[in-house]
Symmetry: C2
Subunit: 314 residues, 2 copies
């Protein structure tokens, strides 16, 4: 099982630099006052295609040999990885095949199509998604880029934390949301080297708490029927991401739906930026409980900004 | 009738610097593609108290003599000027008295109270507001700071355009929303000097088009029963702001409510930032019609970010 190292993260940073934004770091005095700490938000909601996923997708696609790339790339996803992979493929000048469930939001279909990818629709079950992806791969010979269980993808996601620490210096604590664990794994790899005494916190919805269960029980426990408004965090850890979180002693905190909604509202109203529910999960944890010592320096990766305004129900 | 000059704007910039943000300039490739020009957005939605109004209020309050300031300051407003004046007074260490209509949103009352101002409620009519303000002034001897018909306030608002041109260089066109005309007047004074060939455009809702009527007819025509979702633009020009817009040959464009709503949604979805309806009015005009030559450089002042998410009805 290949685990990316800090050198892979530095390679990723160089590789993706022409294609992704060096996103700004935002602060908010109102939120600092609520939390009692200085919070530095890495604004991946401003990233290309609206989420940190552009980092991992570009690293994976740009690292392919020309021979591999010519075959095109594929994934199944109804979310941010689909759009990110479509964009990365366009930037490489190769085809992207995205398997999407037939009930995926029209706006996400449009985003993927807007980047020039080919969409293959399937029934909205994991089985149908995997089966359809296998068929696409058989038919086209393209390379599958997994949304998180891929060392190149993890190394790409790690560049967000790398940049954040370059931008603001050492941090006492660093938080990211946890779904499949790609972002948190990359964050742990980058921050663990750059800032060894840093405390690493993964924030997870109570309704999809497989990382919490897995790290508490010391064995991989996938989510069964996860349910949360943080639709980017429904996926479960893979053996690879589980092992990285374990090795880096990442602590998982879980939060309820009301807290996530409140944190989402707080971000929009106080910071005047749009984030998606998944991105609000770390702030939800910060607002719920006493974190760190007063005055400590906390980093938060705001994972993405693809909010469905209608369904947010403000 | 005192009209601020560019030296007053430069004084204002120095005076307010410790108290307001030098807000960032944002760009969005998706919007550039829609408009066919390069658009530079001055993000006053990130300003202190959530709007450019912090600039004018701080300039007016910080320019008072100690003797004047000790008497406190007052205004009537249910909107951004109320919060801005309350904050400026707190920063000066003096009292602010805000006359607010009894039906003003609880969240705006809370913002004003949060900055430590005293609220006096009145009936929701202009007559009651003015009458109540007169009474507050009689009782306390405080200094009234008008939301726009004040040379110090106009000079303060002008610093947004001053900064924008410092940040991005010369522009072909500069747009701001027009309500009472304080922001547009300041913008015209600053930009007209720094970038003499610049085209100045004020954007106004069709439902509150007094500036369009006034500049077309060459005489001040106040709005009667204005109605628009851009609640910051309901006020009418004063003789002072009318005369400044006339002198600087500001062109007024008007837009309908559907366009404003669409521009608001575009800003949230594409730029991932929260703006209020008034701030979306210039973009509404840009999206509606062909502006400027392809590839020209347009500045837009995003006036504020105090959006009521519930009533935006996405």
């Amino acid at each position: 099982m290949e685990i990316p190292q800090i050198a892979d993260v530095e390679d990723a940073a160089r590789r993706i630099k022409p294609f992704v934004h060096r996103t700004p770091v935002l602060t908010c005095s109102a939120i600092d006052a609520m939390v009692g700490c200085k919070v530095f938000f890495k604004a991946e909601n401003f990233q290309k295609a609206g989420a940190f996923k552009a980092r991992g997708a570009h690293n994976a696609v740009m690292a392919l040999t020309d021979q591999q790339a010519r075959r095109g790339v594929a994934t199944h996803s109804s979310g941010n990885h689909a759009a990110a992979l479509a964009l990365a493929a366009r930037n490489r000048g190769v085809e992207a095949h995205i398997v999407m469930p037939s009930n995926s939001p029209k706006v996400k279909q449009a985003a993927v199509r807007g980047y020039g990818a080919r969409i293959t629709f399937c029934e909205p079950t994991l089985e149908a998604r995997e089966h359809t992806l296998e068929k696409v791969v058989r038919d086209t010979g393209c390379v599958v880029v997994h949304p998180y269980d891929d060392p190149m993808v993890i190394a790409g996601q790690a560049t967000a934390a790398l940049e954040l620490i370059e931008q603001v210096g050492a941090l006492d604590m660093l938080m990211a949301p946890v779904g499949g664990g790609g972002l948190m794994s990359g964050t742990a790899i980058a921050a663990g080297i750059l800032s060894p005494s840093i405390q690493l916190i993964g924030a997870e919805p109570k309704g999809a708490d497989d990382a919490f269960q897995s790290l508490t029980q010391g064995t991989l426990v996938p989510s069964v029927n996860p349910k949360t408004m943080a639709d980017g965090l429904l996926t479960s850890l893979s053996p690879r991401t589980f092992s990285i979180l374990l090795q880096h002693e990442v602590k998982i905190v879980t939060v309820g739906e009301k807290s996530i909604h409140m944190a989402l509202k707080t971000t929009l109203e106080r910071m005047k930026i749009v984030v998606e529910p998944s991105a609000a999960v770390p702030l939800a944890a910060l607002l719920e409980s006493d974190f760190g010592q007063a005055g400590s320096r906390l980093g938060v990766i705001l994972s993405g900004g693809n909010l469905d305004l209608k369904s947010a129900n403000f």
